[in-house]
Symmetry: C2
Subunit: 336 residues, 2 copies
């Protein structure tokens, strides 16, 4: 059944999800905070710096006024960068949102101030019940979704009924949605993998091979799982689409901004210079700060996160960081 859907944020993923839901026959409204960007999108139906070779279908309405975008919408889809989610949902709470609207979070990150996950931020700011919040996550580059490449994701939430609604809302022949009840696991996996993607990018920038990347991905998954368990997530979630699935796709991909940051750092550019020239947010940089602090708080050993933190923020040389990882004492593969 067609639904009215408001997507908040016209970044690459917001645009791709607008395309996807429009293709499913839903009535899609897209809200963009920046009036200049919004104007360009209304006029040209394109934002090539965010998603190349993509034209927004004419049926999709574009709004700069949040209240207009959400009128009668049963679904609010959060597609803004993680550190912007709180301010946007505060505005959403002030607008006349339908109280029974469900919220689907697409942001992948951990708030650097509060160290809260996205669904926690949503529940703190919106008058919704726990079951009304669902996070959708998994290996899903926007560039491939708009080209109808087969893609799978996972929808996680406390209410089975709402999660099943999200599955039906999004699923189609090239987009398959699995369900999960483990919201902490899905959110932490989707966020923390960006730290490991920076590490994989560093290995690429140093000219290392697939063996090294396989090691970083696997040991990265192990440390992310350790932290997740300490924070109440189920370990098996990290072996799923929002964990290892997203991790391998991000680490392999030429589309990943986080992998790119690591690669450029290893080639000697400064973090400031790299971030100034990126047209989009590389969530992994902030997530490295959050992940590092969460590891300290929960007393979890995270050697890769620690080395990425030192390379990004304490001027440690990337090759030294990598060698320090290889030189650690010999261990059993599974330890906590």
């Amino acid at each position: 059944m067609p639904e009215i859907v408001a997507i908040l944020g016209a970044g690459s993923w917001g645009l791709a999800v607008a395309h996807l839901l429009n293709n499913r026959g839903h009535r899609v409204r897209l809200w963009e905070f920046d009036p200049t960007v919004c104007d360009r999108l209304v006029r040209n139906r394109q934002l090539p710096e965010k998603l190349t070779e993509f034209t927004l279908p004419e049926e999709i309405q574009v709004h700069n006024d949040l209240a207009e975008a959400i009128v009668d919408a049963r679904w609010h889809i959060m597609a803004v960068p993680a550190q912007r989610v709180r301010s946007v949902v505060r505005e959403l709470a002030r607008s006349s949102a339908a109280p029974d609207a469900n919220v689907v979070n697409l942001a992948k990150g951990i708030e650097t101030e509060s160290l809260h996950r996205m669904s926690e931020v949503l529940l703190e700011e919106l008058p919704v019940s726990e079951g009304q919040v669902v996070t959708l996550s998994g290996p899903s580059h926007a560039e491939e979704v708009v080209r109808d490449m087969p893609t799978t994701v996972v929808a996680a939430g406390a209410s089975e009924a709402v999660v099943n609604d999200v599955q039906r809302l999004f699923s189609g022949p090239y987009f398959r949605v699995y369900e999960s009840r483990d919201l902490p696991g899905v959110e932490l996996g989707g966020s923390l993998k960006n730290i490991i993607a920076i590490a994989a990018g560093i290995a690429d920038g140093l000219g290392l091979g697939d063996n090294t990347k396989g090691a970083l991905i696997t040991r990265g998954l192990a440390e992310v799982t350790r932290l997740g368990e300490a924070m109440g997530a189920r370990p098996e979630t990290f072996a799923g689409l929002s964990g290892i699935g997203d991790l391998v796709t991000t680490c392999a991909s030429r589309h990943s901004r986080n992998r790119f940051v690591g690669e450029q750092i290893a080639r000697g550019r400064t973090l400031e210079d790299i971030l100034n020239r990126l047209p989009m947010v590389a969530e992994g940089v902030d997530t490295t700060r959050s992940g590092y602090r969460l590891a300290e708080r929960h007393g979890v050993e995270m050697p890769i996160t620690t080395e990425v933190y030192r390379v990004l923020f304490e001027n440690k040389s990337p090759s030294e960081g990598l060698l320090d990882l290889m030189g650690r004492e010999l261990k059993p593969e599974i330890w906590r």
Copy 2:
């Protein structure tokens, strides 16, 4: 402490491990079954069709006589293709091997006749105790190990002391060995991942993207883990180096013969034609037969393995196989 080590099999991985152990200061003897190949290796110190730009160090002795190769060797390292292991260890059992020699298995596969794992074959044929058999597995392309690219693997066996000896034997600044007690898990992960690598190659050959590959890797890991659990392995082992680590490296790599087979099948070549022109064994083709039969025997649903089996052996079209995977009913992410 330097040891005398006999490596059985001069394939790409046998050559790379010879290089590695020679660099650790061990006395390495390399046995090659084929007298012509053995002669070429003795004369030229190179087998470019197996490992390009690699010259075998002069200190490494090359033998065509198995009994000569193993004299006084405390370690027998099995580096022959999986379907050849039984005949080689039968010959080893007939030779005057030191009864206290330990055996390290490097082969990744499941015997198609018996459906036994490699360590089971070794224990059936050799007069050794369970603790004397260790399998070494993980993301370790030979091409990168001989170039000293940082690499990690896992050593699995029933005896902690022998596993620790294997760690010390192999470990060095660019080669890190973790330990595991889960021999079934390490062997099944290292073998069954080659089926998923063929599926990833099919996706490559069809021109699909990173999202699809991320899906195949994750759902592939899930079905391999399901079968592993049914066969007595620990599920967490499949999230480790011998499972997901080897899987992602194989699926991403231009070095992987199994990924290559899938890619060529998707481009319309016949399996026979592809295998006839490969200079080395693509273990995944036999493993697809074994995995398919094991799934039936244990009553485990393995949708990706089933589709790869149909494409390889029943002339199903690769794109149809992939669409059938995407069109399955919507499911929870974790199910057994």
